[in-house]
Every structure is written in structure tokens, then in C-alpha cells.
């Protein structure tokens, strides 16, 4: 209870405080501290929730079960490491004069605001509040993406704004329909939007309304998640703005959208008793993986490459959850964890590489292995991890997903495997050229003295965790994952 309060209040207070004090040098510490508070609270909350009943707080406003606790844990942890990383990032950017004081303040405040919105979305019981929090997070990220006010950034942010706005509006319509369906069962009191109530009556919901509702929700949250025909905003938005926020965008925001979709899928599955929702998710997930695999090779910008990789992984996740069942859901959750950790870690590395080279174009980043070995290793290992190579945790999760897919849909699995090979080929080619080869003179030599040993720590920490998750997963965590997947898969 207190943990929940801390979890929500810490970032909110942090946001307010940073909105006032954000330009001071200590602001970075404050930022870290607020995130650390939230992370600690999330851990406490998780310990409270796992192996016991879900928590309902403030009447029925907040609801934390195993799934949301897990997501909260990931979210706050990645937020924390991002805060640590961004402290260093900002130090260099400010020192180079690329970040003004005002921007720094906005950045910090928005960062905490995003964290708050994400936590709110994950802990809200009402689907409506979840929607509101999602929208708030979107709006905040839009502002951060456009923070440096270059034309490209503005254009990307605008696209993000419009596309996600439309998307999330459809999700709102879907939510309204959901409410309508629930209202017909439990009457027009406030409980008709609460997940706990909806989940309880999900088999009695009207299938026709739910079908339409889920279709709209799928389109809506799918847009936020970057499912393929709806992904137009994603590569551009991820290529702009301060890189640490891109890490949050890619590692967390997409996940939270997926979380929302999963909650809706549980209801849809309950109401429909047919795997329509699952089929939708598998189909569009596969489309995403295939398209991303084809286009990964055409990318020239490092962050866009990673963004397309996120699209690919969102496709994988969609497939995993679409397959349904305990094992596939477990795999999906594991994949989600792994992707959040590894992808944000990769963005940390990418941020350093971009700072080092002075350009985000991959053609301008060369020979990291000779120039910055630690960075090169974190980038290389991160790439191998994101490509699903062992011993990182994306390997077992992809393994499980593929194995279930082969059992259920062998031909689709064949397509998936081909796409994975293609994606592997494309990403490896690009990353190889960045890491190996002759050392080039850094474009911005001034960065060298600004570098500290701690710079690499967040990325390496993420990799280490993914490794740990992949190689020797603690039994406790495994049980947590199983409980969380039980929320989705029943």
C-alpha cells in the first residue's frame, strides 16, 4: 500500500521538483533519486504481490497483480538505469553546448512525468485511467522527442503525435465499447471500467460488442506498440530526441502498450471463446517480423536500426502472446523482459557511440573495437543478445515461441525463421561495420576527457541481467513469471 503510494508519488514529486530545479547540476542526482525511490517501491510492491493476492488500493482505483507488478518492476528499473545513464549523457551534451539549461529542465521534468504516467498505467485498475495514463505518457514523450527543435525532430514528433493520437483515440472508442458491454452486465455504476470487475464477468460480455471493441483496441494500442501497418511513426520518433528517452520509449512505452493490449485480450478471449484475438495478434506480429526483417538492412541511422529491431521484437511478442497458453505467455513475458533490458541497454550504447562519433549515421561510426573497446563490447554483445543468440534471455524466449509456433503453425514458423535469419543478416552486417575495422578519428575529440568509467555501467548491467535471466534464472523469478503469465493465460 505504502509502496504503491511511493511508487506513484516519487516520480510525480520528482517531476514537480525537477520542473522547478531541473537546470541545476544536482538535478541529475535528484532525477536518479526519484527513480531509485520508485524502483525500490516497485520492488517492495512486487515482493508484496508475488505469491499472494493482488493488491487493491484507494477503493478500487489501483490494482496490482503479478503481471502489473512484474511490469512495474521492469519499468522502474529501466527508468532508474536510464536516469543514471542520462546523467552522464546530459553532462556531455551540456558540456558541448547542445543542451541548454531550459531544455535540461524540461527534459528532467518530462522524464519523471513519463515514469509517473507509465507507473499509473500499469497500476490503474480502471481501463479508462490506464488509457489516460497512456495518452499522458505519449504526450510527454512527444515533447521530449521534439526537445531539440530541429526540423527533423519536429517532423518526427508531429508524425508521432498525429499517428499515436489517432491510434489511441480508437483505443478510447474500444474502451467505450468495452464499457458498454460491461454496463449491460453489471449496470452503469463505476465498476464497469474496472479491470477486476471486467475480468470477473468476462465470459458474460456480449461477444459482438467485444469483437468490435477488441478490433479497435487492437488498432489503438497496436499503434502505440508499433505493430506493422500501424508503425509509421516509430522509426522516426525513435531516431530523434535525446537517446536516453528513446531507450525508455523503446524499452518501456511499447511494453506498456502491449500490457494494455494484453489486458484487453484477456477480456476478449473470455467473451469470445474463440481465438480471434490471438489470430489477429499472430498475423500482425508475423507481418511485423517479416517487414522489419526486410527493412532492417536498409537502415542507415543507428537509432532507426534499433527502432526497426523494436518493431521486429514487438511482432515476436505479439506472436508469443497471440499463441496463448501458459508456455507461450511465459515465453512472451520473458521476451518482454529481455527485450526491455537489452534494447534499452543497446540504446545506452548507441548513445555513447553517437556521442563519440558525432553522428547517428552508421557509416560514420567505425572501428569502435579499437577506439572504445568497452563500448564496442557492450554494443556487440547487446546486438547478439537482441538477435536472439544465447546465453542471453532472448534466446530461450524465442526458442519457446518458435517451438510452440512450430507445433501449432508450422508454415508460419518457417516464415518466421526465415525472417529471423534475414534480420540477423541485416543487423549483424551493420553492427559489424561499426564495431570492427580500422579505428577512425572521433568526430568530436572533445568527448574523450568527458568520458568516465561509469558511462558503460548501465548498458553492461542490463546485459548482465539479461545474461543472468537467460543462463540461470532464479527460481523465484521463474515463479513470478509463471504467476504473471497466469494472469494472462488463466
Amino acid at each position: 500500500m505504502n509502496a504503491l503510494a511511493t511508487l506513484l508519488i516519487a516520480p510525480l514529486v520528482g517531476a514537480l521538483a525537477l520542473a522547478i530545479l531541473g537546470e541545476r547540476p544536482h538535478a541529475r542526482v535528484l532525477n536518479i533519486a526519484a527513480s531509485a525511490c520508485a524502483a525500490g517501491a516497485a520492488l517492495a510492491l512486487a515482493l508484496e504481490v508475488f505469491d499472494s493476492e493482488p493488491i487493491l488500493a484507494a477503493g478500487e482505483t489501483f490494482h496490482v497483480d503479478a503481471l502489473s507488478a512484474l511490469m512495474l518492476l521492469v519499468t522502474t528499473f529501466v527508468t532508474l538505469t536510464t536516469a543514471v545513464h542520462s546523467a552522464d549523457y546530459l553532462r556531455i551534451e551540456v558540456a558541448r553546448g547542445r543542451f541548454s539549461v531550459g531544455q535540461q529542465r524540461i527534459y528532467h521534468a518530462l522524464f519523471q512525468l513519463i515514469a509517473f504516467a507509465l507507473c499509473l498505467a500499469l497500476s490503474a485498475n480502471s481501463l479508462g485511467i490506464m488509457w489516460v495514463a497512456m495518452e499522458a505518457a505519449t504526450l510527454a514523450t512527444i515533447l521530449v522527442v521534439s526537445l531539440d527543435r530541429s526540423q527533423a525532430a519536429l517532423a518526427a514528433a508531429w508524425k508521432y503525435f498525429i499517428l499515436c493520437g489517432v491510434g489511441i483515440l480508437q483505443a478510447l472508442f474500444g474502451t467505450v465499447l468495452l464499457y458498454m458491454a460491461a454496463e449491460r452486465v453489471i449496470g452503469p455504476d463505476e465498476g464497469a471500467l474496472l479491470w477486476t470487475h471486467l475480468a470477473a464477468i468476462r465470459t458474460r460480455l456480449d461477444p459482438q460488442i467485444i469483437t468490435l471493441a477488441f478490433a479497435l483496441l487492437f488498432v489503438g494500442y497496436g499503434t502505440k506498440m508499433g505493430l506493422v501497418p500501424l508503425h509509421g511513426w516509430l522509426p522516426d520518433a525513435h531516431a530523434e530526441g535525446p537517446t536516453p528517452v528513446t531507450a525508455v520509449l523503446s524499452g518501456l512505452l511499447l511494453n506498456v502498450a502491449l500490457y494494455a493490449l494484453l489486458r484487453c485480450k484477456v477480456l476478449a478471449d473470455g467473451a469470445l471463446q474463440t481465438p480471434v484475438a490471438g489470430h489477429l495478434m499472430i498475423g500482425f506480429g508475423l507481418l511485423g517480423v517479416v517487414l522489419a526483417a526486410c527493412l532492417l538492412g536498409r537502415q542507415r541511422d543507428l537509432r532507426k536500426l534499433l527502432a526497426w529491431s523494436s518493431i521486429e521484437h514487438m511482432g515476436m511478442l505479439s506472436i508469443a502472446f497471440g499463441l496463448g497458453g501458459a508456455a507461450a505467455t511465459f515465453a512472451g513475458l520473458l521476451h518482454l523482459l529481455g527485450h526491455a533490458l537489452v534494447k534499452s541497454g543497446l540504446y545506452f550504447s548507441a548513445a555513447q557511440a553517437i556521442q563519440w562519433a558525432g553522428t547517428g549515421q552508421m557509416a560514420g561510426i567505425r572501428g569502435l573495437m579499437s577506439a572504445r573497446p568497452v563500448l564496442a563490447w557492450s554494443l556487440l554483445l547487446g546486438t547478439l543478445a537482441i538477435l536472439g543468440l544465447p546465453p542471453f534471455s532472448l534466446f530461450p524466449s524465442e526458442f519457446m515461441t518458435i517451438s510452440i509456433m512450430i507445433q501449432k503453425l508450422p508454415w508460419a514458423a518457417a516464415l518466421l525463421i526465415m525472417a529471423l535469419i534475414l534480420a540477423f543478416a541485416s543487423v549483424l552486417l551493420r553492427v559489424r561495420d561499426m564495431i570492427f575495422g580500422n579505428r577512425v578519428q572521433a568526430a568530436v575529440a572533445a568527448s574523450e576527457p568527458l568520458r568516465t568509467a561509469a558511462t558503460a555501467i548501465p548498458a553492461l548491467l542490463h546485459l548482465a541481467l539479461a545474461l543472468c535471466l537467460g543462463l540461470v534464472m532464479p527460481v523465484t523469478l521463474q515463479r513470478w513469471l509463471q504467476q504473471a503469465s497466469a494472469v494472462i493465460a488463466g
Binding site: 480502471s126 495518452e135 499522458a136 517532423a155 480508437q170 472508442f173 531516431a239 558525432g358 553522428t359
Partner: protein, 241 residues
């Protein structure tokens, strides 16, 4: 139900139809100022519907919602938009990507589609104005179409807001309004969204001025287009020492 409520229900259906009509108006209107007017009118219809539903069902919070809509969507946002248009000197500019008859035809098809999709739900619905769902859906789709058919950012935002009106129409007419917290949240989000839009449009203008000083005669006209085709490498950023 008494006669009064029957009349009320018919009135709601009528107002919903008016809202759809206004959506079509938005779709075919080219002048930005007229677009804003139509949006305000549509919002006003929404206010009336909301209060009507509140009156019919006796749910007090719907009045609050109506008031909120009145303040926000009928007054505040149109005023903001007007100021924007004036600041950006866009009062007389036109914009459409697709030819009008084609747009209309597409809109018509969308309406048919929406009614068809909503029909089974409307049949089983016991809510006060079940037919409204189809109309609301049609409104949303038409808004979407408008968004696609416009290239100017501000028209897209108006389309977006019109879509949002459609959602709200559904929310109030088909259900008995969303829970208050949610409505408040949505309202705040919309407000922030529009504020962001304002910030954006100015930034776009700034960027245009700083990047293309002494460039073509009407830099705004080009930059007002929502997405520059290929974002240039950020020279300005990388070259700063």
C-alpha cells in the same frame, strides 16, 4: 418510458445525425476558419447531447461533463485554434489532398460500412440511443478520412478533435457516459494535446525561419506540411562545438 423520453431519444438521434452532418461539413470545407467554426458547432451538439442524456438518465455528472465540453471544446480550443491560425497567417489558405467528389464518395462508403458494423450491436442494445453508435462510428471514420485527406497540420488536428467528438458522442449516448475520473482525464489530455499542438506549430515556424531564412517566398506553406519527406541529417546539431 414516457413520451418525453421518447422525444428525447429521437432528439438524441437527430443531434447525432447533425453531428455526422457537421463531420461531413468538415470533410468538404477547405477554409481553416470555417473548419474551426464547424468544430465548435459539433462540440456544441455534443454539449447538448450530453446534457440531454444527463437529463434523461438523471446522471448528474453528465452535466459537469457537458459544462466541461462547453468550456473546453466550444470555447477554449476554438479560440486557441483561431489565434494559431491568425498567428500563422493561414486564414485564407486552403488545403486538400484528394478531390472533393472522391472524398465525399469515400465518406459515403464509410458511413455504410460503419452502419453495417454497428448494426448487430445496435439491435441488441438496450441503451438509450442505440442507433447512435453507428452514427458515432461513422463520425469517427469520416474524421479519419478528413485527416488523411488534409496535408496541413492544423486541419489534421481539427480532424483529430472531430474524431474525439465522435468518441465522446458514443460514450455519452450509447453508454451513460464514462466515469467522471476518466472523462476528466481525457479532457485534460485533450487540452494538453492541443497546447502541445500550439507549441508545435510555433516550433515548426521557428524551425522554418531559422533553417530557411531567405529561402522561398512562403516557407510556412511548405513547412506547414506535416511531414517533410526525408528528415535531413541534423547538421545544426552535430556541428555545434
Amino acid at each position: 418510458m414516457n413520451d418525453l423520453s421518447t422525444v428525447g431519444l429521437q432528439l438524441i438521434d437527430l443531434l447525432a445525425a447533425v453531428s455526422l452532418l457537421l463531420a461531413f461539413g468538415l470533410l468538404i470545407q477547405r477554409r481553416l476558419t470555417a473548419l474551426i467554426d464547424f468544430y465548435a458547432l459539433q462540440s456544441l451538439v455534443l454539449v447538448i447531447v450530453t446534457s440531454l442524456v444527463g437529463w434523461l438518465t438523471g446522471q448528474r455528472h453528465l452535466y459537469l461533463s457537458a459544462a466541461l465540453t462547453m468550456v473546453l471544446k466550444v470555447l477554449l480550443i476554438p479560440i486557441l485554434l483561431y489565434r494559431l491560425v491568425r498567428r500563422l497567417r493561414l486564414e485564407t489558405s486552403h488545403d486538400t489532398l484528394v478531390k472533393l467528389p472522391a472524398t465525399l464518395l469515400l465518406g459515403l462508403l464509410l458511413v455504410i460500412f460503419a452502419f453495417d458494423v454497428a448494426r448487430p450491436i445496435a439491435q441488441l442494445s438496450t441503451a438509450i440511443a442505440s442507433g447512435t453508435l453507428g452514427i458515432a462510428l461513422a463520425g469517427i471514420l469520416v474524421g479519419f478520412l478528413m485527416m488523411i485527406s488534409r496535408s496541413r497540420a492544423i486541419s489534421q488536428v481539427i480532424a483529430f478533435l472531430a474524431m474525439e467528438n465522435g468518441v465522446f458522442l458514443a460514450a455519452t449516448a450509447v453508454t451513460h457516459g464514462m466515469p467522471m475520473v476518466v472523462e476528466l482525464g481525457i479532457a485534460v489530455d485533450v487540452l494538453i494535446g492541443v497546447l502541445i499542438l500550439g507549441v508545435f506549430l510555433f516550433h515548426l515556424q521557428d524551425a522554418a525561419d531559422s533553417l530557411e531564412a531567405g529561402g522561398p517566398a512562403s516557407p510556412t506553406a511548405r513547412l506547414e506540411r506535416s511531414g517533410p519527406e526525408t528528415p535531413k541529417p541534423r547538421k545544426a546539431r552535430t556541428q555545434t562545438p
